[in-house]
Amino acid sequence: MAASLGIAGIRKVFGKGTHAVEVLQRIDIDVAPGEFLILVGPSGCGKSTLLNIIAGLEDPSEGQVRIAGKDVIGVAPAQRDIAMVFQSYALYPTMSVAENMGFALEMRKVPKAARVQRVAEVAAMLQIQHLLDRRPSQLSGGQRQRVAMGRALARDPQLFLFDEPLSNLDAKLRVEMRAEIKRLHQFSGITSVYVTHDQIEAMTLGSRIAVMKGGILQQIGTPEVIYSQPANLFVAGFIGSPTMNFIAGHAHSTGDTASFFFDGGSLPLPCPASQALILGVRPEHVQLVAESAWSGQVTLVEPTGADTFVRIQTTAGTVTVRTQPGTPVRVGDTTGLAVNAAHAVWFDTASERRIP
């Protein structure tokens, strides 16, 4: 059964007086039943603290956490009906896989027969039936990850919490388990909150993404909105790989046509009338052209297989361009640059906010 999750005015302050550090500043997030919310941000942004507050492992200094409409502040973690997957998996080392998965049910006084059946069901779902008698120390990293998922699933909780669950896996396993988590969420439909610092995990898994920095919620929205309409420079730079290109300059309009002027060039773009602007444009929305009022020198060509990323040094800064593989560019070439006007985003230099 999917439950809603409401986070209202959550503050968390460590220390007091002049040494007080506010690690969470009035966080408000509403998560609809069945949603998969991603909390993403650089380390130290408060995302893990927020997750621990939802779980009840830490108390907020102020604010409310509502699960299925009920305020749970002061309610013990065990009574919140939450399952959590930890970065280190936190499997009980002295128990077998089956005992690990059945522990929460045992604590809830589920009869043994029902417990065994439920563990078998979940083990089948995760294809770990053959591991049930083993100890965690006898498992590989990927298997431990699956068992940790199984332990959370066996509970059939109201809410799933994930604390960077994939960061201890190698690249290939990470992609596999990412898909597995997505599949399990679609299958179970349980409301989930997932903490990560990996923006690819955030983009691929989330139905909505909450970007945090310095204890402040920067933006919350669907992956598409976060990607194409970032609220500020930080979000724009944090989400997307390679990162968005930023060019600082100013608008200048003559008659009906507006142009964006910057160091070493100008672009004929419809831009907000402002003296200090930053143009943000993703690598896939910049093209290499022969003739342009803006040009630079190729410093790096990075083929990744599906795409080739070309880095160009211009007077206004380095620009990354996504090109088709086999594009005939070489380091040292001079090339012109053009920007797809429809996908350009503009930021105010002073406030760093996006100008809609």
Binding site: P77, L91, Y92, P93
Partner: protein
């Protein structure tokens, strides 16, 4: 002979010398205990006994006199057992729970409390003799084995807490969090998650406490009464009794008997001692 072989030989030579140094007294005790009075009078400390004589062992156990009391070491030995077993178990259990709290259920001031507990580890126990005897008197536990058990628990708890606390800090915090979310409470987490991980440190603490409490003389001589003297005090009194001819063989047998339980504990659980002292983080 290569340099490596030479250094090996030197190493073993040094080790053999060190072993000899520690084993020699034991050897003297054992051979003397097996000699009869005539052989001892010949004065050769290191010679093997010409005939095996077990009489002294019987005497030491149940016949030797301390003053007019000729029950041997036996009553004191059982006093020590009745004192050491509960004191070891209680102080170890107490330390385990303290360590669990101080590492995973920290509260305001818990670090300060731990700091103060460390004082207890380094405090010379002579300092507490007088106040402790007053407290025991007030509790009506003077000269009783229960009193000695309490004294040993109090004296030992600082050390056992330190052992367990340091071992438990290596248990990942997330493990405790996972169990809390799974619905286990304070005691359940202790029994089901923490204690099963504690075998090495339990062994270390049990051996440590048993050796300390069994070998203790200071508390034994200060707080025991006529009927509650531990074996260390009993041995001392027996060897110092001057009413008859000195029977060294009986004294030596008594000394070996008094030392036997700690040696036995080391032999049985010694492998865990080294393992426990060197055990690192708990592998998940």
């Amino acid at each position: 002979m290569t340099v490596k072989q030479l250094s090996r030989t030197l190493l073993y030579l040094v080790l053999a010398l060190a072993a000899l140094f520690f084993v020699a007294p034991l050897y003297v005790m054992l051979v003397t205990s097996l000699k009869d009075a005539e052989q001892i009078r010949q004065g050769n400390l290191l010679s093997l006994p010409t005939s095996i004589n077990l009489e002294s062992w019987g005497m030491a156990w149940s016949g030797a006199c301390t003053g007019v009391d000729c029950r041997g070491l036996q009553p004191y030995f059982w006093n020590s057992v009745r004192m050491a077993v509960p004191a070891v178990l209680l102080s170890t259990a107490w330390g385990a729970v303290n360590g669990y709290v101080l590492s995973h259920w920290k509260f305001r001031g818990s670090e300060l409390l731990f700091g103060l507990l460390l004082f207890g580890v380094f405090m010379p126990f002579q300092v507490v003799l007088l106040p402790m005897s007053q407290v025991l008197g007030a509790l009506g536990l003077s000269s009783s084995i229960v009193g000695l058990v309490i004294v040993h628990c109090l004296a030992g708890v600082a050390g056992t807490t330190l052992f367990f606390r340091n071992y438990y800090t290596a248990i990942p915090k997330e493990l405790i969090s996972a169990a809390r979310l799974d619905g286990a409470g304070f005691w359940r987490i202790f029994w089901r998650i923490v204690l099963p991980l504690s075998t090495p440190i339990l062994m270390v603490t049990l051996i440590w406490q048993f050796t300390n409490i069994w070998n203790d003389f200071l508390f034994g001589v200060s707080f025991s009464g006529a009927d509650s003297k531990p074996v260390t005090v009993g041995l001392n009194n027996m060897a110092n009794t001057s009413s008859s001819v000195k029977s060294y063989n009986v004294d030596m047998a008594a000394a070996v008997i008094a030392a036997l339980p700690t040696m036995l504990v080391y032999v049985l659980a010694g492998q865990y001692f080294v393992k426990g002292l060197t055990a690192g983080a708990v592998k998940g």
